[in-house]
């Protein structure tokens, strides 16, 4: 793998850099899906306990993001999209990032175990370890299927939210996990298609870099099929009502249309600026918000 030297400032890091290390924008999606998992679960959660659980999930996501950046500082320095992060830009030393990430993760798991419940704490710890060890350190630099396995890390929040509310895991939270897990490949590969040169420069074996655009487009189309099935499944299985069913079907149809436009393109015309890929990427974020939002509205409206 290509490496770059990361310069380190002698100045102590600014608190804003620690905040940036937690990837707050990614955290919003994590918090949202976790909150939806919690609100969609049966029974009543004390608002204070619910808030604590969401806080722990957010801190755990921040911990995983910090440890990811600690491990990948050299790679981040090579990519235009990531070279201004606190570590590659030299605004923070690596040891501070490591201590911050480990501290945040340990705190979130202990707090969850003490004040919410043990099941959610165990899954929370597993999600941090999975993201940092299995995805970041093991699979990401080794296989073009990294995003598929790594998607599991991002799929944990609704499962943890449900476990925090109920203290156990049933088929429905596993379905929520499956939705995010299967949504991740089309979402990230759409991004990877238009930032391909960045990943190539860093030596990360992203699918478009290793297998080419055609295969990536096919894979986006293929993964959309099980994702659509998982997204609509809660309705026929009786875990959600018609409100969710209609919202999920319509939003998934739009997703499938955008994914098909990306999947069926054979080559990128000059001056095209990867518009369908960018559209799919942007819509995929909105799609997840709509899907989980509909699930909560459905549960509370029907209740």
């Amino acid at each position: 793998m290509t490496t770059a030297t990361v310069s380190t400032s002698i100045l102590p890091a600014d608190w804003r850099d620690f905040l940036a290390l937690t990837k707050p924008r990614v955290m919003t999606l994590v918090v949202f899906t976790a909150l939806c998992g919690m609100l969609a679960a049966p029974g009543h959660v004390d608002p204070v306990i619910g808030f604590s659980a969401i806080l722990c999930i957010a801190l755990a996501a921040g911990s995983a993001a910090a440890l990811n950046q600690w491990y990948e500082a050299d790679i981040d320095a090579l990519m235009k999209r990531t070279r201004n992060r606190p570590l590659p830009a030299g605004r923070m030393d690596r040891q501070s990032a490591l201590h911050f990430g480990v501290g945040l993760g340990a705190f979130s798991v202990i707090f969850m175990g003490l004040f919410v419940n043990l099941v959610s704490a165990v899954v929370l710890a597993g999600s941090i370890l999975f993201y940092v060890l299995v995805y970041t350190a093991w699979l990401k630099p080794r296989t073009p299927q990294n995003i598929v396995i790594g998607g599991a890390a991002g799929a944990f929040p609704p499962l943890i939210g449900w476990a925090a509310a109920t203290g156990h895991i049933t088929l429905m939270p596993v379905l929520l996990f499956a939705i995010v897990f299967l949504w991740t490949p089309p979402h990230f590969w759409a991004l990877a298609l238009f930032v391909k040169t960045d990943y190539a420069a860093a030596g990360i074996p992203m699918l478009p870099v290793v297998a080419g655009e055609r295969v990536t487009r096919q894979q986006i189309g293929l993964y959309t099929i099980p994702m659509a099935a998982a997204a609509i499944a809660p309705w026929p299985l009786g875990y959600a009502g018609a409100l969710y069913g209609v919202a999920a079907t319509l939003s998934t149809l739009v997703f499938a249309l955008f994914a098909a436009q990306v999947a069926l393109r054979s080559a990128t015309p000059d001056g095209d600026a990867m518009r369908p890929e960018r559209r799919l990427f942007k819509y995929s974020i909105l799609y997840l918000f709509m899907l989980f939002g509909a699930l909560v509205v459905d549960r509370w409206v029907l209740a």
Binding site: L11, P12, A13, D14, D46, I49, F115
Partner: protein, 44 residues
């Protein structure tokens, strides 16, 4: 270290200390409120 850099270090240390103080204060309040909630729920 130049005087400008020293100023910058002090500013950052002050900012960091302030944020840490606020976070610790918030943590104390959170633990208190969660403890009350757990006691009310009868599973403290």
């Amino acid at each position: 270290m130049t005087p400008d850099e020293q100023d910058m270090v002090r500013r950052r240390q002050k900012g960091g200390a302030l944020v840490m103080a606020l976070l610790l204060g918030a943590l104390v309040v959170l633990i208190f409120v969660v403890s009350i909630a757990k006691i009310k729920a009868g599973n403290a």
